[in-house]
C-alpha cells in the first residue's frame, strides 16, 4: 500500500522536478536521465524509510547530484577541466526546502517538448510517459509489450532527436501553440486507447495506460481550463472508460455497445464526463473531441440500447464530419443513419467508401457493412462480410468476435 502511495506521489512530482532542473541546466537529455534516477532511488527508499518532509526538494537534490556526477564523469573522461565545470562546481546544488513552487507552465512546456514534431508518434508516446508521467522505462516497455532494451533505445533516440532539433525548454511560439497542443492531445488520446482497448490476461499492464492518460489529461485540463478540446478529450476519456468492465465477456470476448450490460457502466465517470461536456459545449469553439464526447454522452444516458437517441447521434456525427472529415467518422455516421432511416440508407453511404483507399481494406468497413446487412435481413451477404472483416483485422479479440458473429448467422 505504501508502495502504491509513493508511486502516485512520484508520478505527480516527476514533471515538476524535471521542470526545476531544466530551468537551471537546460539540457533535456541529461536532466531527464538524472530525474529518472532520482525517482528510482525514491521508489526504493521511501516505502520503507518513509516519505521525506519535502519530497520535491529531496528529488531535486538527488537529481541535481546525479547530474553533477554524470557531468563530472563525462569531463573526467574527456580529461578536461574547463570553465563550465568550474562554474558548475560553484553552483549551489542542494536546493533549499523552500524551493519555489514549480510553475504550472513547466509541465505544459515539458509536454510540448515530449510531443515535439521532430519525433515519431511512438517516440512521443514513450517520452511523454517517462518525462511527464514519471513511469520507468521498464513499466513503459511492459505496457507496450516490447523488451526493455528496445524501449530504452527508443527513449534515448527521442532525446537525441530533440537535442538535434535544437528544441529548448520553452513554450512554443504563440502562433504554433494551437497546432502543438493538438499533437499533445492526440498523444494523450492514443495512450488512452492503447490502454482502453487492451483486453485482460497478458496485456493487463496495458490497462494502466488508460488510467495514466486520464491523469495526464486532467492535469492539462487544470492548466488550460478554458480550452474546449482539452475538456472535450477528458470528457471523452471518462465516458469511454465508464464502459470498460462491460466491454468484454468472461472469456475476453468483445461485447458490442448494443449488447453491453449497462448496469456495469460506471455512473461516477458518466456523471463527471457528462457534466464536463455539457459545461464545455456552450462556451467553447467546437472541436472533434467535444463532439465525440457529446456522442459518448448520448449513448451513456440511454438506459438500454433501444432507448438510444439516434437522431441526436446522427446530428452529432454530421457535425463531426463537417468539423473533421474522415472516413472513420463516415463509417460511424452510416451506423447512425441506419438506425434512424433504416439499414439501406446506411449501406448506401458505406458504398461511397469503397473507393477510399484509406478504409477500403479496413476491417471496420467490412464489419459495419456486415452489421447493417444483418439488420437488413441479408444473412448470406452479412456472413460473408463478417468473414472478410475477420480476415482483415489484426486484433485477436476482434477476430474471435467477428468469427462468432459470422457463425451465428450460419446457424440460422
Amino acid at each position: 500500500m505504501a508502495t502504491k502511495r509513493v508511486e502516485g506521489l512520484l508520478r505527480k512530482l516527476a514533471p515538476e522536478v524535471l521542470g526545476v532542473l531544466l530551468r537551471r541546466h537546460r539540457q533535456f537529455d541529461a536532466c531527464e536521465d538524472a530525474v529518472q534516477e532520482a525517482l528510482l532511488a525514491a521508489a526504493l527508499q521511501w516505502p520503507s524509510e518513509g516519505v521525506p518532509d519535502h519530497p520535491r526538494a529531496w528529488l531535486v537534490t538527488v537529481a541535481s547530484r546525479r547530474l553533477t556526477d554524470a557531468w563530472r564523469a563525462e569531463h573526467a573522461r574527456r580529461d578536461r577541466e574547463d570553465a563550465d565545470f568550474a562554474a558548475l562546481q560553484s553552483d549551489p546544488l542542494g536546493p533549499a526546502p523552500d524551493e519555489r513552487a514549480p510553475s504550472a507552465d513547466d509541465t505544459l512546456t515539458l509536454l510540448f517538448l515530449c510531443c515535439h514534431p521532430s519525433l515519431s508518434p511512438s517516440s512521443q508516446l514513450a517520452l511523454t510517459l517517462r518525462a511527464v508521467g514519471g513511469l520507468t522505462t521498464a513499466e513503459i516497455a511492459r505496457a507496450f509489450l516490447v523488451p526493455e532494451a528496445t524501449m530504452g533505445q527508443r527513449i534515448s533516440r527521442a532525446k537525441a532527436t530533440i537535442k538535434a532539433a535544437g528544441a529548448g525548454f520553452s513554450m512554443p511560439p504563440k502562433n504554433e501553440r494551437e497546432a502543438r497542443l493538438r499533437v499533445v492531445l492526440h498523444v494523450l488520446y492514443v495512450i488512452f486507447n492503447e490502454g482502453y482497448t487492451a483486453t485482460s490476461g497478458p496485456s493487463l499492464q496495458r490497462r494502466d495506460l488508460a488510467t495514466e492518460a486520464i491523469r495526464l489529461t486532467r492535469l492539462v485540463h487544470r492548466l488550460l481550463p478554458s480550452d474546449g478540446e482539452v475538456a472535450g478529450l477528458l470528457a471523452l476519456m471518462l465516458l469511454t472508460e465508464s464502459r470498460h468492465t462491460a466491454r468484454t465477456g468472461p472469456d475476453d470476448a468483445l461485447i458490442p455497445l448494443a449488447e453491453q450490460d449497462r448496469a456495469l457502466w460506471r455512473d461516477d465517470l458518466i456523471r463527471e464526463g457528462t457534466e464536463l461536456i455539457a459545461a464545455t459545449l456552450p462556451r467553447a469553439d467546437l472541436g472533434p473531441y467535444q463532439l465525440q464526447a457529446a456522442i459518448a454522452a448520448v449513448h451513456a444516458e440511454a438506459r438500454s440500447s433501444e432507448e438510444t437517441d439516434w437522431p441526436q447521434v446522427l446530428a452529432l456525427y454530421e457535425l463531426l464530419e463537417r468539423v473533421a472529415p474522415n472516413p472513420m467518422v463516415t463509417l460511424n455516421r452510416a451506423v447512425a443513419l441506419a438506425m434512424v432511416h433504416g439499414p439501406r440508407s446506411g449501406l448506401d453511404l458505406l458504398a461511397t467508401l469503397d473507393a477510399d483507399e484509406r478504409v477500403a481494406r479496413h476491417h471496420r468497413l467490412a464489419s459495419v457493412r456486415a452489421h447493417l446487412l444483418e439488420l437488413a435481413g441479408e444473412t448470406v451477404a452479412a456472413r460473408e462480410s463478417f468473414k472478410l472483416a475477420a480476415r482483415q483485422t489484426t486484433s485477436a479479440p476482434e477476430q474471435r468476435h467477428l468469427e462468432r458473429r459470422a457463425a451465428r448467422l450460419s446457424a440460422h
Binding site: T150, T197, T199, R206, R247, S395, P397
Partner: protein
C-alpha cells in the same frame, strides 16, 4: 504496431553473403541502426533447410520427416520483429535492408495484437 519481416533466401544467398565483406558490414550497420532507433524487437537467422525436421498432420496424425523436405527455390531464412508506426514504416525498414544476393524477398506481416475495439 508490430510486424514480422520474413526473409526468404535462396540456396546461394548465404554463400554470397559470407564472401562479401562490404555486405556484411552493411548488414551489421543496418541491425545496429534498427536497434538504436528502438524499433527492433527481435530477430534470428535460421539454419539451413537441410537441418530441418517437419511434423505434418495427416488426418490428425503427426508424421515426422527429416529435411531436406523440399527443393524450393526460395525458403524462409530468418526473421525480424519490428515495433514501428505502421506498415509504411515497416516497408521502409524492409527496403533499407542490404540487398539479398541472388534475389530473395522480404514479406511484411502485421502481428496479431491483444487489444480490440468493441464497436
Amino acid at each position: 504496431m508490430k510486424y514480422m519481416l520474413l526473409i526468404y533466401e535462396n540456396p546461394g544467398t548465404r554463400e554470397a553473403f559470407f564472401a562479401d565483406e562490404k555486405l556484411r558490414a552493411e548488414m551489421s550497420a543496418y541491425v545496429d541502426g534498427l536497434r538504436a532507433s528502438g524499433e527492433l524487437v527481435d530477430g534470428e537467422g535460421l539454419a539451413d533447410p537441410s537441418t530441418a525436421r517437419v511434423v505434418r498432420f495427416e488426418h490428425g496424425v503427426p508424421a515426422v520427416t527429416d529435411g531436406p523436405f523440399m527443393e524450393a527455390k526460395e525458403y524462409f531464412g530468418g526473421f525480424m520483429i519490428v515495433d514501428c508506426d505502421g506498415i509504411e514504416r515497416a516497408t521502409e525498414i524492409a527496403r533499407d535492408h542490404p540487398p539479398l544476393p541472388g534475389g530473395g524477398a522480404m514479406e511484411i506481416r502485421p502481428l496479431m495484437s491483444g487489444g480490440g475495439s468493441e464497436d
